[in-house]
Symmetry: C2
Subunit: 239 residues, 2 copies
């Protein structure tokens, strides 16, 4: 059985310029892995309509589900909803259900639901809303694309809203074994071991600490017994 696949699209000039370090990708990657969904590709594009449309189409066609982050706030550079609508040929306008959420929220807080804030109720036709317990303005799901905010606390809350609605696969079992030898000494025996266990994935992540070379060998697979067995063999090889 192959696990379902997913991709992430980060919309963010601020990450491409080096101003901000992305935190959402790392969070989503961990959550999906735990749910047995394989994050297969990530793209980061700038706040550009055509770039977003092209990336959403490519990722939506290739993978089972797509998660986007960023560009759904009230300002002029928040163009994600329109781009997603364009990618799916759906019209985008202020929607009554989203407007009602915002109206109730701003009435409670005594703030004005002005034209800028109302932009956050622009939702493509046919999309379902994603709950935002942090700051109310909703995300949305259109087709297999889940559109979420870029602010990390809101992104996380939206991921928590969406994940239970997805069908996961078998969670992966993984082990990490630190071997204090140069990767060049590890590579030969590790390659043989990988060939012996084609159902497992074995990755070597080298490091250099205090002038010494080593590598963490990560073994992953759906069959926990096979992972345990291969890890034991690995440890014997380099004992």
């Amino acid at each position: 059985m192959t696990n379902p696949t997913a991709a992430m699209l980060v919309i963010g000039d601020e990450i491409l310029s080096g101003r901000t370090r992305d935190a959402n990708m790392h969070h989503l990657a961990g959550q999906l892995t735990e749910a047995g969904i394989t994050l297969s590709e990530v793209r980061i594009v700038s706040d550009d309509h055509d770039a977003i449309v092209a990336a959403v189409r490519a990722l939506s066609d290739t993978w089972d589900s797509v998660f986007t982050s960023g560009g759904i706030g009230p300002t002029h550079d928040d163009i994600t909803a329109d781009a997603i609508g364009a990618a799916f040929g759906a019209t985008v306008d202020v929607r009554d259900d989203a407007r009602a959420l915002l109206a109730a929220h701003y009435a409670r807080s005594g703030q004005e639901l002005n034209a800028a804030r109302l932009r956050m109720a622009r939702i493509p036709e046919g999309a379902s809303l994603i709950d935002n317990p942090v700051s109310v303005a909703p995300g949305f799901t259109l087709g297999n694309v889940h559109v979420m905010a870029g602010v990390p606390s809101v992104f996380r809350a939206m991921v928590a809203s969406v994940l239970p609605t997805l069908t996961g696969g078998a969670p992966l079992t993984s082990t990490s074994t630190r071997i204090d030898r140069g990767e060049g000494d590890i590579a030969g025996p590790l390659g043989d071991l990988a060939a012996e266990y084609p159902d497992l994935s074995m990755g070597s992540y080298p490091f250099q600490k205090d002038g010494k070379y080593g590598a963490n060998i990560v073994i992953r697979g759906q069959d926990a017994a096979r992972v345990t067995e291969a890890t034991a063999k690995l440890q014997t090889l380099f004992a």
Copy 2:
């Protein structure tokens, strides 16, 4: 004048699984911005031959230069050199210049230049080598693609080797202004200001701290005087 563009391709199962948080992208983004080169797109793909080939081709065709990170070590999962060769139709084999670098290094350190380590001398035909002052095994440049290691200290050293060989553009001037109001109150006036300065990019990056909303407004452009002028107007708007 438009600045040259660049893309980054991260080859890394360990990032997609959430095991490791990428550090190279943030570093490269900052370095490129400083050099006046616009990082326009980032993709992260798994350690999969076809995925790497397809991504390299797409990015190389679209942007002025491409930087890759990861997958050029000695182990069985290091398949980047072959994938880059395949993307450009170049044969890949152990090359004398790269072998000589490795042979001298391992002779000095008293380690064996075994078959696994020799894999790091596999360089596509026609590529030029990228200096690696940290651990010797070279990266390479083929066409407009710069292929570099994933280990952060080595990646940084290789970026430092490559950057001076590229033609940069005008470095961007940027300002960041913190405004302690909800983004919905900022959006209207900010949109008008952005329309008044179409040559500048204005981004709004909202935050929530201690229960209060605010946003950092980043204004960027090549003309420092225009950036200063627009920033002053922004501050007046929200004084």
